[in-house]
Amino acid sequence: MKCSRCLLPLVRSGRTAAQRCVLLPSTSQLIVQHNEQQQVLRYFHCSPASAKRGPVPAQFVKEDEQKGTKSLATKEDLFEQVAKEYKTKDTFNKVIDVFTKRDIRRRGHVEFIYAALKKMSEFGVERDLNVYNKLLDVFPKEVFVPRNFIQRMFNHYPRQQECGVELLEQMENYGIMPNTETKVLLVQIFGEKSHPMRKYQRIMYWFPKFKHINPFPIPQPLPEDPVDLAHLSLTRIANDLDARVTIYQLPCTDFTEGGEEIKLPHIVGIQSPSQMEQLAKHNPKKPVFVEGPFPLWLRKTCVYYYVLRADPIPLEERVEEPYDPERCFDYPLQLDLDLDRDLGDDESFDVDDLDDGPVFAMCMTSQGDQATLNQWISGLQQNNPILGEVPTLFRLDAGTQELQGAADTEPGYRHQPHPEAQREEPQPAEDPEAVVEEESRRSHGMKQ
């Protein structure tokens, strides 16, 4: 088919011989695709229906035989030839297959494996154990196994051993536990007393010990839905198993009168019965503060939460309510025993008890402006009527993320009796705070 050959652009970029044109069988249909590096990729198709398949291995083999411009061909080019949207596990496996079938002696396998390790994250397979095993399979077997004590002594085939250790190290970095197949491969390739085998033994010793030591484990695939994520993180930080999560608003789009679409954020709040009790006992003359956003990291994602809290009650006003003896009939809640504790029995530390003030509720929302938080407070008010009388102050500070002291300025103010919340902009009051923060950051720089 002469016209198809005319369609073949001869692209000469000095990188590899892979950019040579390939003579096509006349029956196949040709689709030319360019990626951003101006390389031409061609796919052999039997029918247009299979247009989505990646490049066929035979293509690589043929191109290498072509004699083109003498340019440096790196092993990474095999991976880079795959177009961006086709970078999947299948194509990665195919590239490995291409390499292994090309040469029985697997010349250049060390560089190939290094290149493959670098390119794994592009293909999205860096956490897949089978891919690592397949990559380990690229090593020729039994060649590098030392056969006598001299070879064992002298670091037999050091480059290959180093490469094996690198592969295992990447597995270790991503926290992937190797399996028996890995062990069998390592024994076949390097023998039992080699560096990669030692590394495998170390991984197999330490990983199980550290796998479950997190007292606050995070589920492995984090929930994608922001509401679910908010639910998970709020139950995590609530520190109370009785706390109840309430979804005040689901993410939706709302239409204003002008016809514009507004995306309403989700508002998920949490409050426990003891927090509700504390809020009910709060003095209505003292204000409560809505502070935020505070960061919370769940593995690699950071979510932000807001807190409704009040200042700590000064000592004079603290009222000690006696325990209600009818609350628990199984055992007495208060014992008046006069036990003289010796120095050796004192289990409490000699520190002042820190009192940050009670936290009444927490919430998570994607948009942390005053309007959304107002909505949250109104939602909370349904269960805590005292919020109607208590002045609520907003301290939405994007600079520092620590609970602010009692003497700080009060940016936003919301007075409940007026149904329309006065949205005073917190900006002017925040700016001096932001400036102060900058200065303190510079002065408390890295201590050398």
Binding site: R152, M153, N155, P158, Q161, E162, V165, E166, N173, K193, R198, Q201, R202, Y205, W206, K209, F210, I213, N214, P215, F216, R236, I237, A238, N239, F294, P295, L296, W297, R299, K300, C302, Y305, V307, R309, D342, L343, G344, D345, D346, E347, F349, D350, V351, L354, D356, V359, M362, Q401, E402, L403, Q404, G405, S440, R441, H444, G445, M446, K447, Q448
Partner: protein
Amino acid sequence: MSLPKISCAPASRLLSSIHDLRWLLRSVTPLSVPRRALVQSEYRRPGQPREDKPQWQMFKFDFSKGLEGIKKHFKLLRHEFSGRLVGPEGKPIIEHMLEQNRVIWEFRGPDSLQEWTLSSDREIGGQSEIYLKLGRNSDTCFLYGTLQNAPPRDGETRYSGYCTMRSKQPLASFDRKKHYDWSSFNTLHLRIRGDGRPWMINVATETYFAHQKYDIYSYFLYTRGGPYWQDVKIPFSKFFLNNQGRIQDDQHPLWLDKINTIGFTLGDKAEGPFQLEIDFIGVCKDYAHTEDFAYEVYKRNPEV
């Protein structure tokens, strides 16, 4: 057996007091051997020029500083002598023998921040930042900053992105090294408020041999995040030995009689800001904990 070093930056660096002598750099090329080539120095960032100043030029002679120094050191010496009259370590003997918990570090004023040293991978060319300040009401310390994973482009370093805070070595009068003696305790107790990031606690002890210089015993500190304080109790039997960040094959329990420093490291490969608030760090004796050591002591990787 020469596998080239896959350099993983040391987890925390010891920066001693202000009279720190800038140690000389080790030689790399056998051709031109500097005068003081045999002295092992601290980490030299690749690409940094070597300092070849003679040793007498490293000192800074200042009269007023000298006077202050004399005053400070003699005061410390006087305290030491008068402390001996009270009892061991300046406490009455009955308290020293029977105490079940002790608060080692508390953050109740700006002076308490002077006991700590900060470090991040900025020293090797990365971009992480770390800062320390007092928390609200001057009651806690607030450690915050940003973590960046991009390794410095010096051709050697492959991984980067760490921030640490390490306590300074306690010093007696005339800058003599003092050690913490925690032999009557068995648990480390911290009260912290983190942001969900996993940290690592590193305890460094006094060592004798040169190859033990960077020996550190570590364990993980998982924070929950949230506005509530978190009490963390880690028994000392759980600390595993590692040297320069590489966990060792031969493990042994942490010896509590000569502890030098404690440190916190963050290196969880998650780029972004972090914060950690610490209320106090103490040690206590947990009678219910009977474990000697959590890891196997026998030889697990016998020689070839």
